[in-house]
Symmetry: C2
Subunit: 221 residues, 2 copies
DNA sequence: GTCTATAGAACGATAGAC
DNA sequence: GTCTATCGTTCTATAGAC
């Protein structure tokens, strides 16, 4: 006997890959079910059959992609905490945990294309309400975990400054991730994100520099 | 006699204000002409009469808003260059020129609302092709001017590193500007961007810290 | 210059045959 | 589980009266 549902799984998978590809380029509103099924080379009706609605499809894409990244970040924080114990995790290490899984998991994909990484950026700036809701829930745990560790690593900084810096950091990452075109315009590089490690290395340095300077700002409140 | 076209100008203006308000919340695709005319309390057909098409309306909104911000930045750079001459402009000063006009011009609006500032962020992450084209043209001059000055201020840094840092900086600004909801989530602040000056002060510190750390990274290429 | 009415196209979703 | 055919909605844009 053959396996039970080979074709269904394949169709489902093809739809998911097509959806994230188109969403990452155009956003939720401009991603039409018609274009997704055309790109996936499946029937128009199959999206509703397998997922229920366009919104349910989008939700499935987000959850499938963001879950692993955050699980890895949480695991890395816990490992780093054990390793450093009882000292706090060093700032560059902490920032790297924030930055690297985002870039590396994205490039584990076959063809090393930038679809996943662009999808994350697109997701963050997506105006549709339900996407924002899913986003908020997906990143709530890692945000509060990161704040805890930042408070340990930089005990003299105010919580308000740390939160503001974390906000800046997420902004930097999202911008750096999502906007490949602007990346090329500004940096004038031929490649896009090919040398991930070099880029991550500099991004970590940039964020660490930012944190240190803000939290060492002369008090003036 | 009364002025010649008081009502036409008023309608045009109402449409522009309504368009940027709705665009800043939802992006180009989700902004419908119907909703714009409803919000502006003008007739549905008036958008096509005054602007030609939805796309032309969007173009008018962008050019009306971005022009003054970039003109002010260019003027500030030239003034700072004269003042510092023959020394280069100090890094914090240069970064402040990049950051502050964006926030301040946005808050000159009546009611101090965040529409303009959100519009800029939304514009930067807008997937529609023609918006990206307008964006690129609008910011090409200020980008190259800023690169010139950065090269003078940080003469030991490689051009590649400076471009990458500038890219990070724009990313940080865009993220910090555009995403009021995430700002509230992460920072847990009740206000949004009320205390602009405090926010700008910290954003400048963050970016300066980032630049300095990346450009002083031990060489390893 | 402003209105109503509507053309014409594209969309999400579903019914029903296979 | 997959297909075709289509319904009902919503959109941009325009024609034509005022």
């Amino acid at each position: 006997m053959a396996t039970t549902t080979p074709k269904a799984d394949k169709t489902r998978h093809r739809i998911l890959r097509a959806a994230e590809k188109i969403f990452s380029k155009k956003g939720f509103r401009a991603m039409t079910v018609r274009e997704v099924t055309r790109e996936a080379r499946v029937n128009l009706a199959s999206v509703n059959y397998h997922f229920g609605s366009k919104q349910d499809l989008m939700q499935a894409v987000i959850e499938e992609r963001f879950g692993p990244i955050n699980r890895q970040r949480i695991a890395l924080i816990e490992a780093a905490r054990r390793e450093a114990h009882p000292a706090p995790i060093a700032l560059p290490k902490l920032i790297e945990i924030m930055v690297r899984p985002l870039f590396e998991l994205a490039f584990q994909e076959p063809g090393n294309d930038t679809t996943v990484i662009r999808m994350i950026g697109r997701c963050m700036s997506e105006p549709t309400d339900f996407v924002q809701d899913v986003n908020e829930k997906t990143f709530a745990e890692i945000t509060s975990l990161m704040m805890e560790e930042l408070a340990r690593t930089l005990p003299d900084a105010s919580e308000a400054d740390l939160r503001l810096c974390l906000f800046f950091t997420i902004s930097t990452m999202i911008g750096a991730i999502g906007d490949e075109d602007r990346f090329r315009d500004v940096t004038r590089r031929k490649q896009t994100f090919e040398d991930t490690s070099e880029m991550v290395h500099r991004l970590v340095a940039y964020v660490v520099g930012g944190f240190l300077r803000v939290t060492h700002l002369p008090k003036q409140d």
